[in-house]
Structures are given as structure tokens and as C-alpha cells.
Symmetry: C2
Subunit: 447 residues, 2 copies
């Protein structure tokens, strides 16, 4: 859809020690066709790539392109190290017998990659750069402006949960918001049914015959044979609910899966009746789930084990990051939410991380470095948050000063404002983009 040249840029493996001089290439996408060629000080719109193939973010961040056309900016989408094709150790990057390969997979190394790339692209010219990012990419945009204000004049951090860290935000907030989304999408029976389903699944799966039946009803790719399988399936359902809330856009999209417009409402349509009977409930759940797993009608089975995962978000890479710095506590309580009760336990989490990746999480690293709630000295960041987005609970919802802008989208899902304009956009999103464009234009004028 959007056009660009694909380029590579060499960065040091480790920006912060003098242990090795190793380097590798990160990819970036480049388009200067909107820029005014006669203006040596064209703005640079720089997307701070997050957890996945950068081409996918380029295609899902239409606002950056629209605004670049309007403000005549060079467009750059930079791929995050350890994602897409930006692998520091090539195909050996995630070799589990070489855990030391994961050592340089951090926020700071990534931001420094971006700082070097912008400096290189600028080549001494005074081109004002603006950072853009959504979700984790939005966190990176915000942190980039905080730490490199001499490199980027400002940042649009869309749906950036920079407060979703230990001690800063209650761990149940994500699931509480998701529950609210399901309560209000069609009718309140939706979240009630989901809340009741966990027990129904357990009951059905208590017998081998029931396990078999569950696999058949849901068209699971892998049969449910053990308690672990069942749990994996239930975890998958929880993922789906969160993902659907995130991608709850007012038009068809392919953000996390091919989805209809207002997918939570679609799902909740199948759960509009309160079921007394476990069998009915479970069959309705199967129809509901298909909104996420098989909207195209072409999927053979439901891949709850992510074994042939074709998602464009790289869960593997993200798993690693949650095991070093991006330690985000999630918990839930069945009395407040449609979720099962689950505690957050850092010790257990750390042990799993060590077992999986030989990594010891540093849960307070991000707060120490980026300031947590203490954002008083920050300037020129737009934090936009949709209130339908479960991540908004960890977002910045109050401006610490008048140089930081908070834009709330009551009808917005996960970084809806960063997406291409669409006739179905709710007014709050149209208005948010208009305000964002004005603020960014002002930053550029003042640069």
C-alpha cells in the first residue's frame, strides 16, 4: 500500500561497553517522495519500530504517511533490533545454546540505533525529526524524546503504556478495562458468559471424551490431551479477548488477524444470551471465537499453541524482552472481571525467564531510567490513548506540564489514531489526528 525503499544501516552490537567492536545491520524503510527537495531542512518522520517486521508497522501506521504528505516530510520506519530481518547474529540470533546472543536486546541499545540512524540520515543538515510510534513503539518514541531531545524535536506516542511496570500501575488494570469493553460492546451478557466459561471448560475437559469434544467443537489444530493443553487453550482465549479489544476498530482490519469492523461487538453478538447450560455456552463460545480465528472462513483449525503462528507481531522476541526489561505485571480477579483469578508473582516469573532464556529480569530498570510517573522535566510528547484500549490503563492520562500533550480518544482502540484515515473513524479520532497534526506542525515551525 505505502511505498518505500528498503535499506540497511550498520550499528554497533553494544553501544554501551567497549567489550566488542562487533556490528550488524538493521533495516529501515525510506521514502523522501513527499519532501520538498528544494528545502534542505525537510522534516524527518521517524517511526521507532517495535516488536515485529517493520514493513507491517509501515502499512498499519497510515497517519504517519498522511501527515508526511501534508507537512512534506521524509518518512523513515526503522526496524527494531532482534525483529524482522534485523538480527544481530543472523539465523543464530535465538539459538538457545547461545543465550549470550540475547544480551544486547534492550531498549537503550535500540534507541541508540535510532539516534545513530537519524544522525546519519541528516548528514549534518538541520532536518527536524519527529518520532512516531504505537504501543511498545510509542513507548520507544516517548523515551527517545526524553533521552535524545537533541535528536528528535518531539514524539507522538500512541497508546504507549509507559506506566505498565511494577509499582506504577495496578496489575489488574488491563483485564479490568478489557472486561468493560466486553460488557458494553453488545450487551452485558457477553462478559458474564465469558466469566462463566472457564468453569464450563474445566468441567467438560475433566474427562477424555470431553477433551476430545472440546477439540472438535473449536476445530483445534492440536488436540487437548492434558491439563497443560487445556490451560494453554484457556490462556489463548484470554489472549484473544485482549487482542480483540486492542483491534476493536470501526472497520475491517488485519492488525492482529483479519477482523470485521467492531470485532468485540461481533463476538459479543454470539454471546448475547445468558446460557444456563454448559454445552450451549461452549458452542456459542466456539462461534464467538471464530470472529477472531476464522473471520475469512479459510482457516482449517484454531492454532491455540501458536505452533504455525503467522502473526506479524513477534511473540518470541517480545517474550525475551519481558524477561529482561519489559517486566509488565498482569493479574486478574474473577470477582471484578470476566477473567480467572491470577496473581502476579515476580519470583516465579523470574524463574521461568531464567529457565527459558537464561535471563534475570530487572523489573525496576525502566522506571529507574525513564522516570516512571515523574515526567515533570519532559517536553514535546503527545500521549494519545483510546479508552477502549486495555493498554490505556498503563498510559499517561494526565499531562505533567503544558509541554506534554495528552489526547484521550473515548471511542478509540489500540493506537487507532496512528492508522490511516477511514470514513468509519469516530469523531474523536478525526479530532485527535487534527490536534496531533497541529502540534507537530508547531514543533516543526519552532525548530
Amino acid at each position: 500500500k505505502f511505498q518505500y525503499a528498503i535499506k540497511e544501516f550498520t550499528v554497533p552490537l553494544d553501544h554501551f561497553s567497549f567489550l566488542s567492536n562487533a556490528s550488524f545491520n538493521i533495516r529501515y524503510l525510506y521514502n523522501d517522495s513527499y519532501a520538498d527537495k528544494k528545502n534542505p531542512q525537510s522534516p524527518i518522520f521517524f517511526y521507532t519500530g517495535n516488536e515485529g517486521d517493520i514493513e507491517w508497522f509501515a502499512q498499519n501506521s497510515g497517519f504517519v504517511w498522511e501527515l508526511a504528505a501534508k507537512l512534506r516530510a521524509v518518512v523513515v520506519f526503522a526496524e527494531h533490533r532482534y525483529y524482522g530481518k534485523s538480527m544481530p547474529f543472523g539465523s543464530d540470533t535465538f539459538n538457545s545454546s547461545k543465550p549470550e546472543h540475547l544480551a544486547y536486546f534492550t531498549v537503550e541499545q535500540t534507541l541508540e540505533d535510532y539516534a545513530m540512524l537519524i544522525t546519519f540520515l541528516r548528514d549534518g543538515r538541520a532536518m527536524p525529526a519527529v518520532a512516531f510510534g504505537g504501543s511498545y513503539g510509542g513507548m520507544l518514541s516517548a523515551w527517545f524524546r526524553m533521552k535524545y531531545p537533541h535528536i528528535v524535536i518531539g514524539a507522538l506516542a500512541a497508546s504507549a503504556p509507559i506506566l505498565q511496570f511494577p509499582g506504577l500501575t495496578p496489575c489488574e488494570i488491563f483485564n479490568r478495562i478489557t472486561t468493560t469493553v466486553y460488557q458494553t460492546a453488545y450487551n452485558a451478557n457477553c462478559s458474564v458468559n465469558i466469566g462463566k466459561s472457564w468453569k464450563a471448560f474445566e468441567t467438560l475437559a475433566a474427562s477424555d471424551a470431553g477433551k476430545k469434544q472440546l477439540g472438535d467443537i473449536f476445530h483445534l489444530c492440536d488436540a487437548i490431551k492434558t491439563a497443560d493443553d487445556l490451560n494453554e487453550f484457556l490462556d489463548f482465549l484470554e489472549d484473544v479477548y485482549g487482542n480483540l479489544a486492542m483491534a476493536n476498530y470501526p472497520y475491517n482490519s488485519t492488525f492482529l488477524a483479519p477482523l470485521p469492523a467492531n470485532p468485540v461487538r461481533q463476538l459479543c453478538f454470539y454471546l448475547k444470551d445468558l446460557h444456563q447450560n454448559d454445552g450451549d455456552l461452549i458452542r456459542s463460545m466456539a462461534s464467538a471465537l471464530a470472529v477472531y480465528t476464522n473471520y475469512t472462513g479459510t482457516e482449517k483449525c484454531v492454532d491455540y499453541k501458536y505452533s504455525s503462528s503467522s502473526t506479524t507481531l513477534d511473540n518470541k522476541g517480545w517474550d525475551i524482552q519481558t524477561c529482561n526489561q519489559m517486566v509488565m505485571p498482569f493479574c486478574s480477579n474473577s470477582s471484578d472481571t470476566m477473567y480467572r483469578t491470577k496473581d502476579w508473582n515476580l519470583r516465579e516469573f523470574s524463574e521461568k525467564c531464567y529457565k527459558k532464556f537464561r535471563l534475570t529480569p530487572k523489573p525496576y530498570d525502566i522506571e529507574l531510567r525513564y522516570g516512571g510517573n515523574n515526567l515533570e522535566a519532559v517536553s514535546n510528547i503527545i500521549f494519545s490513548n483510546g479508552l477502549l484500549d486495555p493498554w490505556s490503563g498503563g498510559g499517561v492520562l494526565q499531562a505533567p506540564n503544558n509541554q506534554v500533550h495528552v489526547i484521550i480518544l473515548p471511542e478509540g482502540a489500540h493506537h487507532l489514531d496512528l492508522r490511516q484515515s477511514n470514513p468509519s473513524d469516530p469523531p474523536s479520532v478525526v479530532d485527535a489526528r487534527r490536534r496531533e497534526a497541529a502540534i507537530i506542525a508547531e514543533w516543526i515551525n519552532q525548530a
Copy 2:
């Protein structure tokens, strides 16, 4: 003179990768006797230790103590990793067969040590911390505020040459300022004599007898036997001229050596007459040099090879830092200055660094990370610079905005304002301290 408890704090060896979980202890000095014990939000005055034993900085930064008494602050002096007793690998730290031990000797690692220490000392209390530092320590204070504004509410960066890096400041500026100091200290013959001396030394040292004579006249600890020895001796003289300009305080001091008040003037007294005769010139130089090398009259010989160096600044550690990040170009031109003509050559410099320490300097690292001249987004830093200080050429002399304060001390040598009050202080220093105190008190009031 000033009292404190000596404590230790454990920090990770490498804050920025997940390669190793190794840790070690840095030292810090602690005194809470000035603090109001009933106030849980006492300010913390935090000296960001630089290249040397931290006790020495504590004793030479009397203003921090005086201001702490006035504003009832807890005083902390933190020792920089790789200096004093804060050795990451103990006595093996500088083992030249283990160059990898030097990998973590960087500004970023050091700042993160300090951020962790303040967070630990605060223990959850809202104690506003102010960073203090002089010279390289002042650079650290300024950068600390830039990167960790959530940790320190402001910084006093005294004589901090944060612009003394490639491409930011002309490499000859240090020697030009020093020359001016010698031109104006007693009479202009001083710098003229020094300018002529290089040739005179070369001429005398052309013969073996002359080399011997030179050693005798200057009471050198090591005889001058080769051209390299001579060059080392002349380099030593250049160091002395710079050091004397830095320590050109209006009262006796022991900053870089035991020195009289106004030592440059003292030295220049011996060079007040224009000598036509090389022998006379060289004998006068010997008397002049003794102002620096033997003010106490107790030194047996002049240690121009630094072989039994007792200086409290750690030249070895600093040499290493100039070979990784602190790449400061120095050059001089004999037509403008009293120095010999010397070029700055990064390639040669890098080769030497690699040979000595297996380190490849990154000359643009500091600019990339801390912004060079682009300080528009910076707040709550006081940059103070004495115009008699050769380092002022690389200092911030113009405020980028009204939240950054530049204080110029026309009669000030190297961070004179950071030293204890003295009856001989010139009015500009007294006034600078008064303004600094007011600004810092205001930061604390607003915190």
C-alpha cells in the same frame, strides 16, 4: 577537614546488557548531620565523583558542605567506578592482559551507578536531590540532570567542558586561554619567555653534555638521555602550565600540587625579564617551575615522568577514558600561543589507544548521546565558568534557555566557586556562590 562516614554500595558491572550478572562495590561518603531529622524530605546534595579518590573531591569542594549546612541537606560524595577504591575487578582491574576489564568504564555506566545510589538512599522518600560536580565531575552532573531529571532536580556543573569534543570547540582553545593567563598574570614577558624556551631546550639538549646540564638545572629525578626523554620533559612543562592556570587560586592550595596563592603570577615573576641568552632563560625557567614542583621546598627532584606520581587525580584512569569516550582534541600553534605547534590527529590517537589499552575511541559518542551544542530541551543546570580557567573554552558560556543558568567568573580559575569560601576570594566568586545558592534553594522549594 570535612567529616563523613565511608560506605559502600553494590552496583551491576554492566547496566546495559544482560550478558553478566556480575556486580561490585563503589564507595561513597555520607553525612546527614546537617539535615533536619524531622523532615523526611531533606534535600540530598550529591557530588558526582570524577577521576580520582572521592575523599579528595570531598575535601576540595567546600561549597557543597557550606551550602548543605545552610539548606540542611544530606551530603553524599559518590566515587566514580574505576577510581579510588571503587574497582570493579579489585587489584586486577587494570591488568593489561585483561583489556576486557576496561569495557565498563564509561560515562553511562557511572551515571546509572549514581541513579541507583540516590534511589537507594532515598528509600521511597521524596528527598529532592541536587547534583554537584567540578570539571569532569561537572560534566557528569550536567549529563546526570539531562538524562535523569526524575532523579536530580538540578545540577551545579562547575567548570564543566562538555563542549570540549570533536567538531564542537576548536582544538587550540585550551592552549590559547592558558597563554592569555600567562600574558596577563605578571607581565607579557612571561608567555614570550615560555614561547622561546622550547627552542632553547632543544638547542641545549642537542649534546649529551647539554642533556646532563638540563637534568642538573631542573633537578630531574630521571636523567634526560634520549629525544623521547626530552619530549616527555617538554610535555611535562606544558602540563604544568595548564595545571597552574587551572589551580590559579587567590590563596594557597593543594589542588593539583601544594601551591602558593596566584601561582601563575608567582611563576611569571621569575620570567618577568626578557632573556636574550638561552642559559639565563633556562635557569629562570627552573626557578619558575619550582613554584609548581617544589613550593614546599621538600621535594628531592622533579618527577617529569610521573613515575612516583602522588597526584590525587588518577591520570591512568583518565587516560583510559580519553581512549574510549572522552576524546578531547587538543592542538596548538606557536604563532598564536606560547606552546609548540601540535596537530590533533584522530587516527594516530586511536592507534595509540589501541596499542595501550586495546580500546578504539568513539569520538562522537558523547555528542550523540548528550547533544553537543543542542541544549534547548535542558533545564535546571547551572554552568559556571571562570575566565582564567583554560577549560572554560569548552564550557557552556551561553544559556540555551531561561531554565539553564550560565555564571561567568571573570576572576575565577578551575571551579573556584565549588571550593570552600576564603577571605581572598574575588568578588565575582562570592557573588557566583550567592547566586548558585539562591537558584538551588529555589529548585528545592519548587520540588
